[in-house]
């Protein structure tokens, strides 16, 4: 009887050790969010917030901007207010011009263990006409520290 209980304990210990590494445990909780912002001779500043909760331990943030007129600056800050990135896209033509040109700018970054709270994308346009797509992918990946970011993104 004593041996039996030892065997059971060992079996449970083995199961508990294997379980987190099994394919079952690799299942991810996902939450994708896409926002599309159309700008037409826009000069008003705006903010887009991406809320990260404790349920997720991975964040992929893609910001794609295509401009036909004017200019725009985009700044990304984490919930602590630290700037994580910034980029601008400018065209040679203002809204009064009949000529347009297309300029693209993209910002794509991935974060393991992103800070919980509101990640803020600040948009500062000047007579801007175009589109901004913000795609945020949040996941919970068990044992994320064992996986390279590139593998998760892929």
């Amino acid at each position: 009887m004593k041996n039996f209980s030892k065997t059971i304990t060992a079996a449970i210990a083995i199961i508990l050790f294997i379980l987190p590494n099994s394919s079952f445990a690799q299942e991810q909780v996902k939450f994708d969010l896409t926002r599309q912002i159309s700008l037409k001779n826009e000069s008003a500043k705006s903010e887009v917030k991406v809320k990260i909760s404790e349920a997720y331990n991975f964040l992929q943030l893609d910001i794609l901007c295509q401009l036909r007129k004017g200019e725009i600056n985009l700044e990304i800050t984490d919930p602590n207010g630290n700037k994580k990135g910034e980029f601008s896209v400018k065209t040679n033509f203002g809204d009064s011009s009949t000529t347009t040109e297309i300029v693209n700018g993209s910002w794509m970054k991935s974060f393991k263990h992103p800070l919980n709270g509101d990640w803020v994308i600040k948009l500062t346009p000047k007579s801007a006409t175009g589109e901004v797509h913000i795609v945020s992918r949040m996941k919970f990946i068990p044992q994320i520290d064992m996986i390279h970011v590139d593998e998760i993104v892929r």
Binding site: G85, K90, M108, K109, D145
Partner: protein, 345 residues
């Protein structure tokens, strides 16, 4: 091992690793010097099914525009030949050293396309002037710019090393806890400041500093930035002018100097005017000491009349005229008829 000691160990290893990089800044170029031609030569194994075989060279007018994409800043576009080679002529570049960005665009995308981050990051930076001899090798892999090799060009090799050091900031997510992240961030920022402090190239120094969240770093390391500004106080490039705008007190100091000069000039002018005025008043008060007859004689002297003419005009004897003239000279503290002519009244 406790968490505290493991944090220390991580910090120690990172510092040692980064320091070994930073130490190589003082002299070695890392690659053997090769005979080269002036210009920017490059090689890239481009997947032409995805990427257009064109390389674009843009000027970065200041570091705040490092990630600004526009057609205005693209100064040259060259075709990438079948062997993957491309070449920009450095002769058309501005005389002074500038920061440049080379980028590639995907097929179907506009030429002015910038991708920051991810496997498709499509650009890199370099420092050049018309005399530059730059040889770049872009090695592709899982990423478009998987590895960048720049041969025998010290400032640009420094940029690569800075990129490697700053790359640690992107791998911060390997260190789970926020305490560990802060330690790593601090270690990386310390090394970037060491590079900025030790490099002799002003653009390399700024490139290192702009890799950080500078706004936060300035608040934490005021003494370093104070010394840095002092060291490069004579640097008048646009890069430094824009960099100095991060320091309002420096701006105030810069405004204070011309203000002091201006105030000094105004005070000097006022003093000179006051001196002239007081002299004029002194002369007027001397003039008022003359008698009615003497004033009349004085006016006639000013008109250049002789003693005889004055005697006739005033109906007085010549000896009386002489006496008035002597009194005038004595009271006005002058010694000749010419002095009378020059006298303000």
């Amino acid at each position: 091992m406790s968490t505290k000691s493991s944090v220390k160990l991580v910090k120690y290893f990172i510092s040692a690793f980064l320091l070994s990089w930073a130490c190589s800044f003082s002299g070695s170029t890392g690659c053997a010097a090769l005979p080269q031609q002036k210009g920017i030569h490059g090689e890239i194994e481009l997947d032409t099914t995805v990427w257009a075989p064109v390389a674009y060279l843009s000027i970065v007018p200041d570091f705040t525009q490092k990630y600004t994409m526009s057609y205005q800043t693209i100064i040259e576009r060259v075709k990438i030949d079948e062997s993957g080679s491309f070449q920009f002529s450095s002769q058309t570049l501005p005389e002074k050293e500038h920061l440049y960005r080379i980028h590639f665009s995907k097929k179907g995308d506009p030429p002015a396309s910038m991708i920051i981050g991810g496997k498709d990051e499509n650009h890199f930076f370099l420092i050049a002037n018309p005399e530059s001899e730059i040889n770049i090798q872009v090695k592709t892999g899982p990423r478009l710019i998987n590895k960048l090799v720049i041969k025998a060009n010290t400032p640009n090799q420094s940029l690569l090393k800075i990129n490697e050091v700053a790359g640690f900031l992107d791998t911060l997510d390997y260190y789970g806890s926020s305490v560990n992240r802060d330690f790593v961030r601090q270690a990386v920022n310390d090394q970037l400041r060491v590079i900025a402090d030790s490099s002799h190239n002003p653009l390399v120094c700024l490139y290192a500093l702009y890799q950080m969240d500078m706004e936060t770093d300035i608040k934490l390391n005021q003494e370093f930035y104070h010394d840095f500004l002092k060291r490069w106080s004579k640097e008048d490039s646009e890069y430094f002018k824009v960099f100095r705008t991060n320091f309002p007190e420096y701006k105030r100091l810069n405004l204070l100097f011309p203000l002091i000069i201006g105030i000094g000039l105004i005070i000097t002018l006022v003093i000179i005017l006051l001196i002239f005025r007081s002299r004029r008043l002194a002369k007027e008060s001397l003039y008022s000491s003359l008698s009615v007859q003497e004033r009349k004689v004085f006016q006639l002297l000013k008109e250049g009349k002789s003693n005889k003419e004055i005697s006739e005009d005033c109906a007085i004897s010549i000896s009386t005229v002489k006496s008035h003239v002597n009194n005038i000279f004595s009271k006005l503290n002058i010694s000749s008829r010419k002095d009378v002519m020059d006298y303000p009244k």
